[in-house]
């Protein structure tokens, strides 16, 4: 019997093999993924069979561990995809820089007399634990409640750190508390003489924040998000889209949305940045700049109307009456 002509098929298949060798990496990876995905149902059955066989007392087989190779390929693929995303984001950032997006941080705070709202710093001390406990017990107010001297119950019940300023210093809740240029937190409950402090690590703390990347051309403002406390030493930075450029070591400042002084305040540094495959947002952790246990004095940022604008307003009102 004459053998069927196989030369054309051989040449064709050899050329096909050569073609596959020259395929772009993306296409090869896609084909590999397809083949592995197609084999997955069978792999599950095989693992089930092997593990059941290992349980049989007659067989001396040990339980076969899960196949490593497909998972290794998946891990490698995820790493490659993450690296690709990083490169993509870096390219976008460079493109943005080339389009002349602002590269300089805001300069010193606007002290113009034209500003309607100006800020004033109120200095306060953080009461030590023992002092705070005694204060809460009312030991400092010897006159007792009969004399009308009574601290706010909300403040006394609050377990958070106490500062020695309250309504007597025109404080109100939700005022930013800083130490130098670093954000400590906010005033929580404000009593007559004392207030409690909600640290940025407090589970209820939320504040607008902005990433600042240090580049060769200087600091560059990047994505805005929300800094959230978790009751742990590190905070989380939320709502940073996966398409934003983020890296460990980036600084986090307050965002303009906070309505603070025009000089942004420092939250801390990004110490962990993860982007899971398919995730819409980054998973970021920020290490606060300050250790609250080491703090002794803070400043409360009190916002008030510019007295210069107030006097101008009064002048106008007087002229109107005339």
């Amino acid at each position: 019997m004459m053998p069927r002509p196989i030369l054309p098929a051989t040449i064709l298949l050899s050329l096909l093999g050569l073609g596959f060798t020259l395929l772009p990496q993306d296409w090869s990876d896609a084909l590999r993924r397809t083949v592995l995905d197609a084999s997955r149902p069978g792999q599950r059955i095989a693992r089930g069979v092997v593990s059941r066989a290992a349980e049989l007392p007659l067989l001396s087989l040990h339980a076969v561990p899960a196949a490593n190779r497909p998972e290794e390929v998946e891990v490698e693929l995820r790493e490659l995809q993450e690296r690709y995303r990083h490169l993509q984001i870096e390219c976008a950032l460079v493109r943005e820089q080339m389009q002349g997006i602002a590269a300089a941080p805001p300069v010193a705070s606007r002290r113009s007399s034209e500003a309607l709202i100006v800020s004033e710093l109120v200095h306060a001390e953080i009461l030590g634990e023992q002092t705070a406990a005694q204060w809460r017990a009312g030991r400092f107010l010897d006159a007792g409640s009969a004399s009308g001297l009574r601290e706010s119950a909300l403040v006394l019940r609050d377990e958070r750190p106490l500062i020695d300023r309250g309504a007597d210093a025109d404080l109100s809740p939700e005022q930013p508390v800083i130490a130098g240029l670093c954000v400590v937190g906010r005033t929580a409950n404000v009593g007559r003489w004392t207030s409690t402090l909600q640290l940025i690590t407090d589970p209820e703390y939320r504040g607008w924040a902005q990433i600042v990347k240090n580049t060769e051309r200087g600091p560059v403002f990047a994505a805005e998000g929300i800094l959230a406390g978790e009751g742990r030493p590190l905070c989380r930075l939320l709502r940073i889209r996966a398409t934003e450029a983020v890296s460990v070591g980036d600084d986090v400042y307050t965002s303009g949305r906070e309505g603070l002084r025009s000089q942004p305040m420092y939250y801390g540094r990004i110490v962990r940045a993860e982007l899971q495959a398919g995730a819409a947002e980054w998973s970021l952790q920020v290490e606060p700049a300050l250790d609250p246990t080491q703090l002794r004095t803070v400043q409360i940022l009190r916002l008030e109307m510019n007295p210069a604008r107030l006097s101008v307003g009064e002048g106008l009102a007087t002229d109107a009456h005339r």
Binding site: M1, P3, R4, I6, L7, A9, T10, L13, S14, L16, G17, L18, G19, F20, T21, L22, L23, S28, L31, R32, V35, L36, A38, S39, G42, Q43, I45, A46, R47, V50, V64, P65, A66, A67, N68, R69, P70
Partner: protein, 173 residues
């Protein structure tokens, strides 16, 4: 029917190669069931069908190996062409011929695949090293293939015996 059976065996070989083999063996002495299936296809099918099957199984093997695709595909197609050219279909029924073909075929596939991957990766190719690894792989694959063949013979024998008993039992009744 033969094509369907081979498709099923190819899937089983892929699953075993992707999951069970890495868990039981590592490195160069891993048996290569897809190569075994490719050589089996060449012995089963004449002409272009055998070549195409060998190429497909070679491509599946490429998908489980690092490096570019197409290496095992090309080697399997060329090996299949050689087998078909050199060994007449009547001789392919002999156990000795089959064993020798599979053994040599595995050596060729292993040597070619390892050498090509090393060369494409820019690693110096040491022929002695490649041959040693290829020999080990071919041996382990042949051993697994022989074990599977023997197991299939035993199962077929048992099936025949069981089938043979039923009619006899019915006759007695």
């Amino acid at each position: 029917m033969k094509h369907l059976t081979l498709a099923g065996l190819a899937y089983v070989a892929l699953v075993v190669q992707a999951s069970v083999v890495p868990a039981m063996a590592s490195g160069a002495l891993e048996p290569r069931f897809l190569w075994l299936a490719a050589l089996g296809a060449v012995l089963l099918f004449d002409g272009a069908a055998g070549l195409v099957w060998a190429a497909v199984l070679g491509l599946l093997s490429d998908c489980l190996c690092p490096g570019p695709l197409g290496i095992d595909l090309t080697l399997a197609a060329l090996s299949a062409a050689l087998v078909q050219r050199l060994i007449p279909s009547e001789s392919r029924r002999s156990f000795v011929v089959v064993a020798a073909t599979v053994g040599v075929g595995l050596m060729v596939l292993a040597s070619g695949s390892f050498a090509a991957r090393l060369w494409l990766a820019g690693t110096p190719v040491d022929p002695a090293h490649v041959l040693t690894i290829s020999f080990g792989t071919a041996l382990s694959t042949l051993a697994c293939g022989t074990a599977l063949w023997l197991a299939s013979r035993v199962i077929a024998q048992l099936a025949r015996e069981l089938t043979g008993r039923h009619p006899a039992a019915m006759n007695r009744n």
